[in-house]
Amino acid sequence: MSTKTDTLSRVRRSLNLNTEDEWSSVVRDRMVAYGLLALYVVVVWFPIYYILITSFKAPSETLSFPITFYPHDPTLSNYVEIFQNRPFGTYTLNSLIVAGTTTLICVTLGTLSGYTFSRYDFLGNKALLLSIIAARMIPPIALIVPFFEIMSNPPVIGALTGSLYNTKAALILTYTFFNLPFAVWIMKNYFDGVPRSLDEQAQVDGCSTWEGFFKVILPVAKPGIAATAILAFIFSWNEFVFALVLTSSEVSQTLPIGVSLFVADDFIDWAHLAAGGMIAALPGILFGLFFQRYIVSGLTQGAVKE
């Protein structure tokens, strides 16, 4: 990383900018870039800001015109009420269980198989990897009928479990189906970037394949694992369509369903809805602000989202 002055003089030299006129046109370019980006950020964040302030407005202020751009009488009552009068505690817990378990399974299986796909040539490894990409292409919505049928009447394990309809297990199974190919793909690409000399060094040091993997490779793979975990968690936390198809009551309904239920009411209670929406949006906002690096690296390695 060069210092700022270095960068400037390098840019200046490389662009052959000798006169002040040419130089100021570069500065002008940069000012325009800042201006446009600032405008974009403000426009993009305005709706988020508006729903955030709505969640702190008294319901009566929500329905006032002209509209207000900050809560004149800020209150936490919307948040208190959705946890008291609506089962938002249960929804949140369900979301945590479903997204957490899915993430755990996807990270474990994705890391193990991603490593093997990256390092070994074995019978059918290319065909398997291609099938995994193909699995990403299947439009999930096309599969709502079979998933509904399979979960209502599960084959093989159904004898033990009975119907899985309206259980958190059904959501975990479904989300793992859709997120695992993605996890394998990110981890495979990540391991491709880890030098093979590390594996060899581990072998020279007398590690078995397993020891080498756990003691030498895994610690190096932490950023890849973080990216996989964050994306798998966000995708399953945010998922709506399959939760809508596969659940019917508080036992298994997640936050996105809880928030959408405000619309079923004849009168939409916007202040309470905004509070529920903010709860559902919280992990996304937090992950976005603090772990953006991992999200971007995971995305560009896996390049897909459900």
């Binding site: 490389s14 052959n16 940069r30 870039a33 800042y34 446009l36 980006l37 950020v41 993009v44 964040w45 305005f46 709706p47 988020i48 508006y50 729903i51 709505t54 329905l63 002209p66 509209i67 299986l109 193990l112 490593y115 093997t116 070994y120 398997l128 193909a134 699995a135 292409m137 439009p139 919505i141 096309a142 709502i144 009928v145 079979p146 998933f147 509904f148 049928e149 084959p155 793992t176 189906f177 695992l180 945010n238 709506f240 369509v241 809508l244 198809v245 928030v259 959408s260 619309v263 916007w270 809805l273 559902a280 949006a281 996304g284 906002i285 602000l289 971007v296 560009t300 390049a303 989202k305």
Partner: protein
């Protein structure tokens, strides 16, 4: 003792590949094969929504999906209308978000201070739950107290609130705006990654040669950006064809049927009306269309989309 441990270790090492890949392969075989076969199978049956009795009807579900009254002749007007809606929705929002995303990515690719923070701010809409984004936009477009009418009326641009979501054309426009808002970050991230692959010396050389901005983009940037464009467009398009969340919570396919797209039609048919056979047939069609779209994009842009 030592001999035993070593042979156990050797045996475990031999099992490394099957033990690491096996569970994943079994799991994914489940997602590709089983539900897809079940989808094809379900599309051949009529399911009575009340009794849940199934009756084999062969390709009748496809016939009634494609033709009016299910016999070869005039096309099913619903199919024609909802296909148009899907094309408008996908076409407009992918085009707008692609151009906007390309522009922002190129701005962000400059050597700007605070770039990291701007990138963070830009990415957030994409990682919020779509449901929450959909409801948020419904609230923004709300007729009496919505922020958009609030700003427009308050600023004196219009004198009376516009009922955005009660008019078919305006509702479609609102959906497209929400969709662009949600998915532009994705385009930005993918294209920005591609832009960072362009060697800086090439720009300098082009600059020295006096190449115009446009020629610099076309001859230097574009060739390097092609794989990223393929990824961005493929995923955007196939995602938009199948996306239900925004449409379902913002307009429910209405007013009337004016924003009904394939995804909401499938959900309504299969889950609201309980005609799972017909829904499955539509699912099969969407599967085929998705693969066709991917094939066409590969032909146009070349290469595998996953090799950025």
């Amino acid at each position: 003792m030592a001999e035993n441990t070593r042979s156990l270790r050797r045996r475990l090492d031999r099992l490394f590949i099957p033990l690491t890949v096996g569970p994943t392969v079994l799991w994914i075989a489940g997602v590709i094969l089983y539900p897809t076969l079940q989808l094809l199978w379900s599309s051949l049956f009529y399911t009575n929504p009340i009794t849940q009795e199934k009756q084999f009807v062969g390709l009748d579900n496809f016939a009634s999906l494609i033709f009016e009254n299910g016999t070869v002749g005039a096309l099913n007007p619903d199919l024609v209308q909802f296909t148009k809606h899907t094309l408008v929705y996908v076409g407009c929002s992918v085009t707008i978000s692609f151009l906007l995303g390309l522009g922002i990515a190129m701005l962000l690719n400059k050597d700007l201070k605070g770039r990291g923070w701007i990138r963070t701010a830009v990415i957030v809409p994409w990682i919020l739950p779509y449901v929450m984004s959909g409801l948020m936009w419904r609230w923004m477009f709300q007729t009496q107290y919505g922020a958009i009418n609030g700003v427009l009326v308050g600023g004196g641009v219009i004198s009376e609130q516009i009922p955005f979501l009660s008019d078919g054309t305006l509702a479609m426009m609102a959906l497209i705006i929400a969709d662009v808002w949600v998915f532009t970050p994705f385009i930005i991230i993918i294209l920005l990654a591609g832009l960072q692959n362009v060697p800086e010396q090439l720009y300098d050389a082009a600059e020295v040669d006096g190449a115009s901005r446009w020629s610099r983009f076309w001859n230097v940037t574009y060739p390097f950006l092609k794989p990223s464009i393929l990824v961005a467009l493929t995923i955007r398009i196939i995602f938009d064809i199948r996306a239900l969340d925004l449409v379902w919570v913002m307009t429910h396919g209405g007013p009337g049927k004016s924003t009904e797209v394939w995804a909401s039609w499938l959900y309504r048919t299969a889950m609201v009306f309980g005609d799972t056979g017909q829904g499955a047939a539509l699912g099969v069609v969407m599967l085929a269309v998705t693969f066709a779209v991917v094939a066409v994009l590969y032909k146009v842009f070349g290469g595998t989309p996953y090799e950025t």
